[in-house]
Amino acid sequence: MRPARAAPGSIQRSWAHALRQELFGSPADSLISVLLISTIIAAAFSLVRWALGQAQWAVIQANTTLFAVGRYPVQQQWRLWLLLVLVAALSGLSWGLLRAYPRADRSGQLWPFNDRLAVGLLGFLAAWLPAALALGFPLQWRWCGITALLVAMRWLAGHWGRSWPPGLVKLIPVIWPLLYLFGMVLIAGGLGLPRVSPSEWGGLLLTLLMASFAILLSFPIGVVVALGRRSQLPLLRWSSVLYIEFIRGAPLITLLFLGQNILGYMLPGGWAPDRVWRAAWVLTFFCGAYLAEAVRAGLSAVPPGQLEAARSLGLTMPQALQRVVLPQALRIALPAAVGQFISLLQDTTLLSLIGLLDLLGTARTVMANPEFLGKNAEVYLTLAVLFWCCCAALGLGSRALERRLDPTHSPA
């Protein structure tokens, strides 16, 4: 038997009712609402009219490659495409497997609404963006192909992942770091590939590379320092506090300049051979200190009884931390940590001030080009949208993860 059709309608009616109450509850409310809404609509309308009419997007169209990868040598760019293909395939695979193995205690729809929305958005971007950027046909097809690959892998893993050997599924968390290392080789060269100097990396490539490097490496640093700060060994505790307070006591830009000058003396030779790697390490240590505070808050929030129970069962301290305390502490710290990661991603724009050609640095060189003088609005709007997309993806992913890890809330 079909459920009564009235239910959704009545929900919508009550929704509309609540909206009417909120906006037009009293004459004064109505007046304020009308004024505000008309202002917002007028502003949005002007923006859209400018974006579609007056704005000259040629500045973006002509510099797409520059914004994407900087001055990465053209004949080596196939390496980046290969990396993109691998990342898309593995992302799709992981995504599908996450859905194929829902949490132990519940079953639900294979693809929740958010997933469908995300795939729709991806499809729209793959179809529209290359056209809007006036990329040639080969490039348009490449983007569509990569997106199709991601969606196809997700679909395959989602529908058949459960019948794959469990060993294969457990490999996924191992493959990601391996892919990261392989990606570094692809980008930088080595293993027979010609070297591409970091000074030739730029644009979105450099921004994402710096951010992901700092995020990945700051995570273990943050966990170790947070544990150190709560340790009973005085030397470990004090050095952790010293590290955190030193980093938090100075603005990032100061640390970046400082790093350019002194990191060469501090780290073993070869670790920070040039400006890009020096900046990467500064970002990593910077993010690590703030992350340590987030993790510490998470550790404090886990009741002491959890450690006692784990220890009373015979788990050693490292086992108890790894299996019982940290999983809970990190879940609690996750929102704060992701907030930290999002601001780190945005902080990479400071790299332009020390002369690196990240997204903002690239944008400034483009705007300095006499051919594109006065096109600041177009460039900055594009940058803002790009950053917004990256941060939104981080935020959405973290919220999905949070829901998945939370044993008391309903599934995503």
């Binding site: 132990a104 205690d105 009741p303 009884g305 959890q306 006692e308 129970a309 784990a310 220890r311 009373s312 069962l313 015979g314 788990l315 050693t316 086992q319 299996r323 019982v324 999983p327 809970q328 879940r331 890890l405 044993p407 008391t408």
Partner: protein, 248 residues
């Protein structure tokens, strides 16, 4: 209970000071034989929880000696880990791991500590959950269970390590009254099976029926130690009479 039976816990002259100077245990002696059920009672702050927490080294002590199942408690971490493997503990607040399912709560320690195969442990864990009457909740998370169910899971989790001694630290104090019975039922069942148990509790009925010995602690010392029939009807010490008068 016979004089010849093997000593599972032997505590001699245990003294403990908290870092703030509070003298929590003032020379406590207690011996528990294999298969014996000892109930420790006493007003709050009398040191009874602190005392049983010294048995598995959750609390340190400064003077005296404790040996558990023939292993002397020392600062040697290997000794402590060995004792903890053989000594299960059930807490007032259950302390189940909220991020793991009921089944995973049971299998974690045997797999990680004893290095047993997950499949074997899961079969054993399901049998234990069956025994405490919650096998159908195995795939749920602790937060989805009632307090009584959680405490029964906690008991099963301890049993899954196949301990030789079980310590209970006020196992029913945090439960709603209507759930106390189901937990005590499981504990009775264990005692009948010959498990060595030390139980800190205020449950008179349980002490009367199940305990072989009742110990009354007050201000960090043992005041009276007697079989329940004697303890509840004819205590020797004035302090015991006061205590019984207050709780009966």
């Amino acid at each position: 209970m016979t004089a010849t039976s093997q000593l599972m816990i032997e505590a001699r002259g245990v003294q403990k000071w908290y870092p703030n100077g509070f003298h929590a245990l003032r020379g406590v002696d207690l011996c528990v034989s294999k298969g014996e059920v000892v109930v420790i009672m006493g007003p709050s702050g009398s040191g009874k929880s602190t005392f049983i927490r010294t048995f598995n080294a959750l609390e340190e002590f400064q003077e005296g000696s404790i040996s558990v199942d023939g292993i002397a408690l020392s600062n040697d971490l290997r000794n402590i880990d060995a004792i903890r493997c053989d000594t299960g503990m059930v807490f007032q607040q259950f302390n189940l791991f909220p991020h793991l399912t009921v089944l995973e709560n049971l299998t974690l320690a045997p797999v990680v500590v004893r290095k047993r195969r997950r499949g074997d442990v899961e079969a054993q864990a399901m049998a234990l959950l069956e025994r405490v009457g919650i096998a159908e909740q195995a795939r749920k998370y602790p937060g989805q269970l009632s307090g009584g169910q959680q405490q029964r899971v906690a008991i099963a989790r301890s049993l899954c390590m196949e301990p030789r001694i079980l310590l209970f630290d006020e196992p029913t104090s945090a439960l709603d009254p209507e759930m106390v019975g189901e937990v005590l039922e499981v504990m009775r069942d264990l005692a009948a099976d010959g498990m060595t148990m030390v139980v800190v509790t205020h449950e008179m009925g349980f002490a009367r029926e199940v305990a072989h010995r009742v110990v009354l602690m007050s201000e960090g010392q043992i005041v009276e130690e007697a079989p329940p029939t004697v303890f509840f009807t004819n205590p020797r010490h004035e302090r015991s009479r006061q205590f019984l008068a207050q709780i009966l």
